[in-house]
């Protein structure tokens, strides 16, 4: 994905003046990939961090690295930049020797400058490479700078601008003659626009506002943002909608193998093959459930688009500018080369939120209003009601056990809608079919029928494979079509529900066997690094909390069974009002060689807190008229008042490869919280979220 199509040093590195420029196709979404890539370039080339810059990520200018997702960026882009930098170091040293004498080994590289034999006049690297041909293949065997004795804590790129209000998000862009825009949306996804009150439209036009309509896609634009916000409300009031309504049946009743396309999963990879029968008379079996969940980004999605009659420029916070370019060009009948996408920061997105849809909607408006830059922002209600959600999911587990309670056979079935909602080219115009506005245009495209993700550790089957050593394993992926809401990639994909299920199940089995939760896991693990994580977690946790309605839970996972290993311990208590209050969390992680310790810790803390929010708060709600979770009151999330003391312990492994950690913590967070709630209350909750209402109902049933 990274070096394959972009094999040259110049694809990744360059110089502008005395600044070393790093090029990447991965975008910074708050996960600090820019900081990590700068640190990698610094480690290989000694260039001071303040003289390294990451180039803007734009189509036609940066490597096409697909989508920034899956905790892959350090492994993909990071590896490419490291090898390119190591190749460049050798090239630059040879160039210095050729020009100024001596042998390459005589030249020392320090602080971004080469010093030759018998000279104390350092030659800046950037000056050298400015005249060098960088169209040279990256050497996959280039010797790398040795790992540091202690992991680095580079300053976070952009932080000073953030705290002083100078950092610019897409939402903050400005251009001469720019129009602000809002979309006027139907009450629900199935309603269509029957008509717009001509008098309302005429009044708005008379006030200088522009109205754009394409079928049921309706939007308003104008020079001043607040006027546009008010106009969108007035226009909505003048709209007549017809049809529609959402199905109100219980989605968990639809999530069964009987309603699904079934695939077996072996070594993390799904395959069409006869599904072996479910185990009969297992020692223990349970089903775990997760509702539709939002990304619920803090900033509503936005994009700036300009059409000059020949070229469409879009500034977007999409995680995948190249696939989005193809999908937008296809939707509009344009040559992709006439469409240029540049990434600009949005707020954290945690997967595929409204970013791509907003980019396309801004493009539709720009095409209708040629010459004017159009800054489209979604409203809070747009974001909550129209982003592609993470699918509802069920996980059915069963185990047979041996004399000491150990697992002798294991069965896991994941049952869910699709996580594959990103617009990217594919059969049946899959790209356009996944852009929201195309469903509403006069000549509609989509929705596409979901196709199962067959990639290793992809989709709902991510971490369906147990990380534990189990003698006999039966794994089934069940893709259910026609669920009520549009869904797409949400941080962790299936790993969130799968780890929640497995780690709850492990505790249940340990309890049945009368064994300690950590010891029971240890007994099923052969991996020394996993055991080291659990040992460190046990030591850091110390004595369990005492007191009525207080409890501790632990959980462990290795993301995709190949990336960061994370153990989580949580102490909490449950109040008289059945509220879960988080008191303390310990996170122990092994992500191999650490590039940016501060960034890694931030991702682990942030992942834990997002998992905690999923565990305690988050669920999409709807009725027949539409989505009812349309703001932060109707879709509550974890806030400061329930943030525990968090201790993060990183086990640095300088001799091992750096692996992704951005999505490694939420799954174990869910498991540890479920187990702690059970320890505190005696109630085993198997459906997220654990709201006061859910706990009260479970208590009544118990």
């Amino acid at each position: 994905m990274s070096l394959g199509p972009h094999p040259l040093v110049g694809h990744w590195l360059g110089a502008e003046g005395d600044v070393l420029v790093v090029r990447t196709g991965k975008v910074d979404i708050g996960q600090r990939i820019s900081t990590a890539l700068m640190q990698i370039a610094h480690e290989e080339l000694t260039q001071p961090l303040e003289c390294i810059r990451v180039a803007p990520v734009a189509t036609g200018e940066c490597p096409d690295e697909g989508i920034t997702s899956g905790s892959n960026s350090v492994e993909q882009s990071g590896r490419a930049v490291r090898l390119a930098a190591a190749t460049l170091r050798r090239m630059a040293t040879a160039e210095a020797a050729r020009r100024l004498g001596g042998e390459p080994p005589d030249w020392r590289l320090e602080d971004g400058a080469l010093t030759g034999p018998g000279s104390n006049r350092p030659v800046p690297l950037t000056g050298l490479i400015a005249d060098m041909d960088l169209g040279v293949p990256v050497d996959l065997d280039a010797p790398l700078a040795g790992p540091r004795a202690r992991p680095a804590r580079p300053p976070m790129a952009g932080l000073r601008d953030i705290v002083t209000g100078r950092y610019r998000f897409v939402h903050d862009l400005d251009a001469p003659g720019m129009l602000h825009a809002r979309v006027v949306r139907p009450p629900n996804a199935r309603a269509r626009l029957a008509g717009v009150d001509a008098a309302v439209a005429a009044r708005l036009r008379a006030e200088g506002l522009r109205i754009v309509r394409d079928g049921s896609f309706l939007a308003v634009a104008g020079a001043r943002e607040w006027d546009v916000v008010k106009a969108a409300g007035r226009l909505f009031a003048g709209c007549a909608w017809q049809g529609g309504g959402l199905p109100e049946d219980d989605v968990f009743a639809r999530l069964t193998p009987a309603n699904a396309e079934r695939l077996i999963v072996e070594d993390g990879t799904p395959r069409a093959a006869p599904v072996p029968p479910a185990p009969d008379a297992p020692a223990h079996a349970a089903r775990y459930e997760r509702p539709f969940t939002m990304h619920a980004a803090l900033a509503p999605s936005a994009a700036l688009a300009t059409w000059d009659g020949a070229r469409l420029d879009i500034v977007t916070h999409s995680q995948g500018i190249y696939p989005l370019r193809q999908s937008i060009a296809d939707s509009l009948g344009l040559d992709p080369r006439a469409v240029c996408l540049t990434h600009a920061p949005g707020s954290g997105c945690y997967g595929h939120n409204g970013a791509d849809d907003a980019a396309f909607e801004a493009a539709l408006l720009a095409m209708a209003l040629p010459g004017a830059p159009v800054l489209l922002k979604w409203s809070r209600e747009d974001e909550h009601a129209w982003e592609p959600y993470g699918t509802a999911m069920a996980v059915e587990l069963a185990a047979a056990t041996g004399p000491a309670g150990e697992i002798t056979a294991y069965s896991a079935e994941a049952i869910a809608g699709t996580f594959r909602g990103r617009p990217r080219p594919g059969k049946g115009r899959a790209g356009p079919a996944k852009l929201l506005a195309n469903r509403f245009r006069a000549d509609p495209v989509g929705p596409a029928r979901p196709e199962p993700n067959l990639n290793r550790q992809g989709g709902m089957h991510r971490n369906l494979d147990p990380v534990y050593r189990l003698p006999e394993v039966r794994l089934v992926k069940n893709l259910v079509a026609d669920l009520p809401h549009r869904t797409s990639a949400l941080r962790c994909l299936g790993a969130a529900a799968n780890v929640f299920a497995l780690e709850s199940f492990m505790d249940e089995l340990a309890a049945i066997a009368g064994r300690d939760a950590l010891d029971y896991r240890r007994a099923h693990l052969g991996d020394a690094r996993a055991l080291a994580v659990l040992d460190r977690l046990g030591a850091a946790l110390g004595a369990a909390p005492s007191g009525a309605m207080a409890g501790r839970g632990v959980a462990y996972a290795q993301y995709k069974n190949a990336m960061a290993r994370v153990g989580v311990g949580v102490d909490l208590h449950v109040t008289d009002l059945s509220e879960v209050r988080l008191d303390r969390a310990v996170i122990v992680a092994d992500a191999g060689r650490v590039i940016d310790l501060g960034g890694l810790e931030a991702q682990l803390e942030g992942g834990f807190l997002q998992g905690a929010s999923w565990a305690l708060c988050e669920a999409v709600t709807w009725d027949r008229d539409g989505i009812t979770s349309r703001d932060w009151d109707s879709y509550p999330v974890l806030r400061f008042d329930n943030v525990p003391e968090i201790e993060v312990i990183v086990l640095d492994r300088p001799g091992d490869a750096s692996v992704g950690a951005g999505e490694a913590a939420p799954g174990p967070a869910l498991g540890a919280i479920a187990n702690a709630v059970c320890a505190a209350t005696g109630l085993r909750l198997r459906r997220l979220p654990f709201t006061p209402d859910a706990i009260s109902r479970a208590a009544l049933r118990a």
Binding site: I29, G30, Q31, R32, P155, M156, G158, L159, R160, I162, V163, T164, G165, R166, Y167, R168, F169, H171, D172, D174, H180, R224, E225, W226, V229, A296, A297, L298, A299, P300, P345, G346, S347, G348, Y350, K377, S379, R380, G598, A602, E605, G606, G607, F608, L609, Q610, D631, W632, D633, V637, R639, F640, D641, V643, I646
Partner: protein, 158 residues
């Protein structure tokens, strides 16, 4: 509103007087961002539910996404861009940098403002006081532990 009955609104923002052309019923955040180009203040919900739009009014953190600009006449407004004019604001900004208290950064301006407002009133808040004061603010990336650390650093640095 016709030209004849135009009301001139004067606002004092970051130590400077501004004559504002926007109608006084415009929510303050749109005046700051759209008319005055002060884009550090963020719009997150427009519902007073997320805290991204916090500014200081007479030293106290308030939300600016619904409150009309006209209601701020005669008050001293400080946005994130003006925080560095005060010792407390500078200390809070430095503490956020030291604690690396941001991920995507969209909630951060509101939080820097809120912490500055908190420390003006309560120079040494305990953890629960800080948590309660910041609960109106949503962060989706999970920077909360670092923000709380920044509160500790800023209050200790006084």
């Amino acid at each position: 509103m016709g030209a004849g009955d135009a009301v001139t609104l004067r606002l004092r923002i970051n130590g400077r007087d501004h004559t504002v052309a926007s109608p006084p019923d415009t929510p303050l955040v749109y005046v700051l961002r759209d008319e005055l180009g002060l884009k550090g203040t963020k719009l997150g919900c427009g519902l007073e539910q997320c805290g991204a739009c916090a500014v200081l009014a007479d030293g106290e953190a308030v939300l600016s996404c619904i409150a009309e600009a006209g209601a701020f006449a005669g008050r001293e407004i400080v946005t994130v861009e003006g925080l560095a004019e005060t010792a407390t604001g500078r200390r809070v900004q430095a503490a956020f940098v030291r604690a690396s208290a941001a991920q995507c950064g969209y909630c951060t301006a509101g939080l820097v403002v809120a912490v500055t407002g908190l420390l003006r009133k309560t120079p040494n808040p305990d953890r629960d006081t800080a948590k309660a004061a910041l609960t109106p603010h949503i962060c989706r990336c999970g920077s909360h532990p670092r923000v709380l650390r920044a509160v500790g650093i800023a209050s200790a640095a006084r």
